[in-house]
């Protein structure tokens, strides 16, 4: 057996046998399920009904306000404003809407007031504004002797139907699904890099503090040890993901059985669509999801996953070699976490608005962010040459970084008691 595979085996077994690995593997799905249940439970709880007093001196608007499960509107047009604001202060009313007596629409536009103790939400303000504006518009139209019904009929509301130039049709809302899928993959990569990169670092530090490193290094090349460590740790991580996937599927399956829903194969579900047209909307989304570049996404996920994880793990390994304890490593963490977080932010804010804009495109080539940003772009359709170029850059950088990391690693693992700085590490590169 070659030494690298021996190292991989040992690292893998050491990680998997670790109590925290076992606990994490089986406990975190439980914690996840628990949180999901909690959120579900909280969202089903009814929020308190808030009472809003309407003081409408014109009497035109008050009937437009319809109470719902969240807000109850109470007509208080006869109560003086002073009394109402007092009861807002005492907390009886959430707020009071004051519409002054005027027949001049221009005056009303500026002089309707809302009093409350806590600032109202933006959505609430917009709703009220829309309500009053609609009503006022209707009055204005009637005053101008215009046929509101005819106008309403004449109104046109365009809903863009989105399609790709290649002719495939698309449904609205698909963008959200796309960013969801890309985001999930990108996020997964980020989490994996942070969790397992840290594990690589800790394992390097452990060998240093145990002082076994010099024994090992007299039979294994530092580079072999580093690569073996990275691969072994990633295998442990993949096993963890596989177990989670299995648990997830088991839960899904048993839930399906419990609720008496037969898990449908794609074939029968297509047949079912034909018979049950009321499902067509959900079905449409599903078929649209299947039309996404799934093969490309999965292959790209795998490649970016490997490239990104290896790239960052090399950083982590080098840092682990340079420090004596985990506390010393903090100062080196920020430059690693930053590009990862940047990638996720670019993904969620830039890619969703403009998947093929300059910023999104550039960062999907930058190797430190490309695993996340490019994965988020791929569901929107990225030319294959861009993916190929981005992956090439990523792997080229990876080999470069591994070379540097191995140098720092080689020197660092045999250095004790020196508090490392960036300057020191650069010096090691020259040894």
């Amino acid at each position: 057996m070659s030494v690298i595979s021996l190292v991989i085996k040992r690292e893998f077994i050491a990680k998997v046998r670790n109590k925290s690995f076992i606990v994490m593997t089986f406990l975190s799905p439980l914690i996840f399920a628990g949180i999901a249940l909690l959120i579900g439970y909280l969202s089903t709880m009814k929020a308190d009904v808030r009472q809003i007093a309407i003081h409408d001196e014109t009497g035109w608007f008050v009937n437009s306000f319809k109470s719902d499960s969240e807000y109850r509107y109470i007509n208080q047009s006869d109560t003086p404003v002073k009394t109402l604001t007092d009861s807002v202060k005492s907390g009886f009313y959430e707020g009071v809407l004051v519409i002054p007596n005027s027949s001049d629409p221009k005056f009303l536009e500026k002089h309707i007031q809302y009093f409350s103790e806590e600032s109202p939400g933006i959505g609430f303000i917009e709703d009220i504004e829309d309500l009053i504006s609609d009503r006022q518009t209707k009055f204005n139209l009637e005053n101008a002797k215009l046929d509101t019904l005819a106008i309403r009929k004449a109104e046109s509301k365009v809903s863009l139907s989105i399609a790709r130039a290649s002719g495939e049709e698309s449904v609205k809302g698909l963008n959200e699904i796309k960013i969801g899928i890309g985001g999930a993959f990108g996020y997964l990569i980020m989490m994996f890099i942070i969790i397992y990169g840290n594990m690589v670092m800790r394992s390097v530090i452990e060998e240093k503090t145990n002082r076994i490193i010099e024994i090992i290094i007299s039979s294994v090349k530092p580079f072999q040890l580093m690569i073996g460590k990275i691969i072994g740790t990633s295998l442990a991580g993949l096993l963890q993901f596989a177990i989670w996937a299995l648990i997830g599927m088991a839960i899904l399956f048993s839930a399906s059985l419990f609720f008496d829903v037969t898990p449908a194969t794609p074939m029968t579900s297509v047949a079912a669509t034909a018979m049950q047209p009321q499902l067509s909307n959900a079905q449409l989304y599903l078929t649209e999801i299947w039309k996404l570049p799934i093969a490309t996404t999965l292959i790209a996920f795998l490649l970016y996953f490997i490239g990104g994880y290896f790239l960052y793990s090399s950083f982590y390994a080098a840092i682990g070699a340079a420090v004596d304890s985990e506390t010393d490593s903090q100062q080196f963490m920020l430059p690693i976490i930053l590009p990862l977080v940047l990638g996720v932010y670019i993904g969620f804010f830039t890619v969703i608005n403009d998947p093929h804009g300059t910023i999104a495109t550039v960062f999907s080539f930058v190797p430190l962010t490309s695993p996340i940003v490019m994965l988020m772009r791929i569901p929107f359709g990225v030319p294959i040459w861009q993916i190929a170029l981005s992956i090439t850059i990523l792997f080229a950088t990876f080999f470069g970084v591994v070379w540097f990391a191995a140098k720092i690693y080689r020197i660092g693992i045999l250095m004790y008691g020196k508090k490392p700085s960036w300057k020191e590490m650069v010096k090691w590169l020259k040894y």
Binding site: L6, I212, E214, I215, I216, S218, K221
Partner: protein
């Protein structure tokens, strides 16, 4: 080909600091070779180069006449000064892993391990974790791991640190047995008494330079002071002293003895020991006559503080 290891003009620099300044060594096959030097002299740098952990900036290292190559890793057993084991790994698994890294097959490693565990009487430790063992016990395991793959060349860096006297003796006997079985041992230490006892050859490194190298006896011969310790029972002390001062330099000596004799330290210079003896026998009963051979410790301190005392 009598040298198992040849170090030729090895230079190693770390930045501006020169750790080894053109150092050459020859380690004869089958010897116990003491590599001596104060802390920071460059011993560990040299050992790391021999183990191919680092590489020399210039110069060459030959093992069995061939330049060092990755294949030589399994010919060398190395017990570093900074040593430890995986704390949370079981003893048996750990030893198997380290032995396999040295190129043994799983079954061969297991066979060797059982042999050594039997020999050192540590059979019950197989399933224990290192963190359950004492420091001395862990050192025994490290020793086993070092010798397990039957290397031609063994390098021990301060092997006895951390051992109690009983265990240190066991290890010492094992080292001697390894030598008997044909292994060559490089022994880096500043414990001079163990050097006197074990080493056939020594080399002294100081401030990145090799100062002395050779057979232990040759080195001592080169550093002899021609001083003799003498015990003599005589009635005529004054006569004796008169005779002696004619030819030799005399000073008071102190050594343990059964009689209440006159104890002298005599510098014979270029004359022969027999000249001294004839003077002594002429005047009294000689009870003690020993050449004061310089200890390695003396040579070490002399060499380190002497010529390079700029």
């Amino acid at each position: 080909m009598s040298n198992i290891l040849e170090v030729r003009d090895v230079v190693k620099k770390y930045g501006d600091f020169t750790a080894l300044n053109s150092v050459s060594l020859s380690v004869p096959k089958g010897s116990i070779y003491g590599l001596l030097g104060p802390n920071g002299a460059g011993k560990t740098s040299l050992i790391r180069i021999i183990n191919q952990i680092t590489y020399p900036d210039s110069g060459q290292v030959l093992l069995d006449g061939k330049p060092l190559s990755p294949d030589h890793i399994r010919d060398i057993g190395y017990l570093p000064e900074e040593r430890g084991l995986y704390k949370s790994m079981k003893v048996g698994e750990q030893c198997l892993y380290l032995a396999q890294l040295k190129g043994l097959s799983h079954s061969e490693a297991k066979k060797q391990l059982e042999f050594w565990f039997d020999k050192l009487d540590i059979n019950g430790w197989w399933n224990k974790k290192i963190q359950e063992l004492s420091k001395g016990m862990a050192q025994k395991i490290q020793f086993v791991v070092t010798v397990l793959h039957k290397p031609k060349l063994l390098i021990f860096d301060e092997p006895f640190s951390g051992f109690d006297p009983v265990n240190a003796n066991i290890i010492k006997d094992e080292i001697l047995e390894l030598k008997k079985n044909g292994a060559t041992i490089i022994f880096s230490t500043h414990r001079m008494e163990s050097v006197e006892e074990l080493c056939d050859d020594i080399a002294l490194i100081h401030k990145s330079n090799k100062l002395i190298e050779g057979k232990l006896n040759d080195v001592k011969r080169n550093h002899r002071t021609n001083n003799y310790e003498v015990g003599i029972l005589t009635d005529n002390v004054e006569g004796l002293m008169y005779d002696l001062t004619q030819k030799f330099m005399i000073s008071q000596a102190d050594f343990k003895s059964l009689n209440d004799e006159l104890k002298l330290s005599i510098q014979i210079g270029e004359t022969r020991p027999n000249d001294l003896l004839s003077v002594l026998t002429h005047r009294g009963q000689v009870t003690h006559f020993v050449e004061k051979i310089p200890s390695v410790n003396d040579i070490f301190i002399n060499a380190v503080s002497g010529p390079t005392n700029e």
